[in-house]
Symmetry: C2
Amino acid sequence: MPTRYRIALDAMGGDHGPAAVVPAALKVLRRHQDRVQLILVGDEDTLRRALEGHGGREGELLRIHHAAQAVDMDELPSQALRFKKDSSMRVSINLVKEGEADACVSAGNTGALMATARYVLKTLPGIDRPAICTQIPCIGGSFRMLDLGANVDCSAEHLFQFAVMGSVLTEASEDNPVPRIGLLNLGVEEIKGNDQVKQAAQLLQGSALNYGGYVEADRMYQGVADVVVCDGFTGNVALKASEGVASVISRYLREEFTRNALTRIAGLVALPVLRALRRRLDPRRYNGASLLGLRGVVVKSHGGADYVAFEHAIEVGVLEAEKNVPRLIDERIGEMFAQEREQP
Amino acid sequence: MPTRYRIALDAMGGDHGPAAVVPAALKVLRRHQDRVQLILVGDEDTLRRALEGHGGREGELLRIHHAAQAVDMDELPSQALRFKKDSSMRVSINLVKEGEADACVSAGNTGALMATARYVLKTLPGIDRPAICTQIPCIGGSFRMLDLGANVDCSAEHLFQFAVMGSVLTEASEDNPVPRIGLLNLGVEEIKGNDQVKQAAQLLQGSALNYGGYVEADRMYQGVADVVVCDGFTGNVALKASEGVASVISRYLREEFTRNALTRIAGLVALPVLRALRRRLDPRRYNGASLLGLRGVVVKSHGGADYVAFEHAIEVGVLEAEKNVPRLIDERIGEMFAQEREQP
């Protein structure tokens, strides 16, 4: 009998809650019938109704696990931690902690998810801080970027740990044994950047990682690195600026094609091309950010994710459960420390 | 007789040197015959030949000022400062210092330009560090962002000074008496961000500026602020990430329209629309970043600027010379300090 990966889904999180999570779960289950078992965590009655509404039903492969509370999207992490001990988010993470699930996926608020996951699961030995990592499309494929907002201030050591975690995740996910690591910086010259970045570069140069030097934010979209490392403030800004520009361009495109009767006709003729473009740029295909550095797999879905996007986030969880990414990170950190001790 | 603004142009800077600067100068001169006087700074023979080649000639309104050296695009700022005292860049800045020019414009290397301008012109009283500020298109118009890379580490006071300078520049350039100031941050909640940003928010709240709170990087493209303030590391990354995404999308667009015979026909039909889109997104229209906080107007053109883009950078210089932005900043800083002293 093949191994089944048990994924706990915070079914009440995100802007859409069960309306996105339940149909996404049913689709994933159909695709991976022999490989996954899904646990919908949240209000039992609500979830049972949602399941029926989508033509699904409870069974061995799709269980409902009751949780009486839900974390609000704008709730303070400290409040969620203190007052929402029976939230769908917290219970999902508890299932991972207790070994009842191999991963959990939530579209709930990022701050609360990170705080709760860190509190419940703890960080791996040798990892000071967990980081948020996501896959981003670029020319010729994609790259992974971290941290995306968990840590606003980072030391060189933190950046180095992010690089290790990003490398391990990419190795496991992409069948790429030696991902190129880039450090996000203002320029490629040695003299540029702040002290943390310069010191992180030295740590990376002296490590076994495939470090390729500094990367500028425009160049990362040319596919010059497989893993781009930065502090959470910069990473969050870079990602959101990118999303902002993409949305402006798609709005302009729509405006230009609907300007008058002639441009509307041009738009009709160009429709298949524009659809192909939209598919290529569809952010839902890259939904699902990994909270790396914890003693368990936790995946954050975009809060506004629809069921297609949430499905992708579940897939990220399945993959990381299958590869056991936390164990791989733990082993790699152990090896690196051992090497360091051996060096004169 | 109306005032003539004298603009020194570093004619040897940038990737294209005189090939971009000379035709740009001729076009600006034609447009502003009664308002500007341009000084081409660089190798005399080269510039004379370039002028002839473009059907222009020396005269009272278009002078050539010889400079024997040129700063390389990858030259270290310290090297340029020390060994290139007769460079077209340095001589252009000297002309501003000596009152022979009201502004200078250079497409030369940013680090060298900032270091030289700071060394020669000095910062205004009350300004600790100059900042780089540029106009960026967004939904409904444009906004200005600073710092874009001059200062990798910034204190709350630095960010506050950037806000003052950005506000003054926007007031002068946009006929907007109370520009909305936004602080770039991870989220709009009070608890988010690093210490510098949080403290800067307090300084801004207590000031006479029209401070509108935190701005996320995606929201700035929705036009929620007229001035977006951040440290130079973050600003540089945000701007470059934006450029990177725009270039990926335009590449995808081209690829999709040239995929096969059918899509090529669609592309032909859509050509006028695509051209309109390209015009709207044309970064050349926003070329010309201001080095704010100096005792003189210095404008940085993109290094790869062609003559159309360089023309826009000259226009930025003309406008800032006309408004005398350094004096306006000086006065505003003076007023703010005076108010602070008056407060109990």
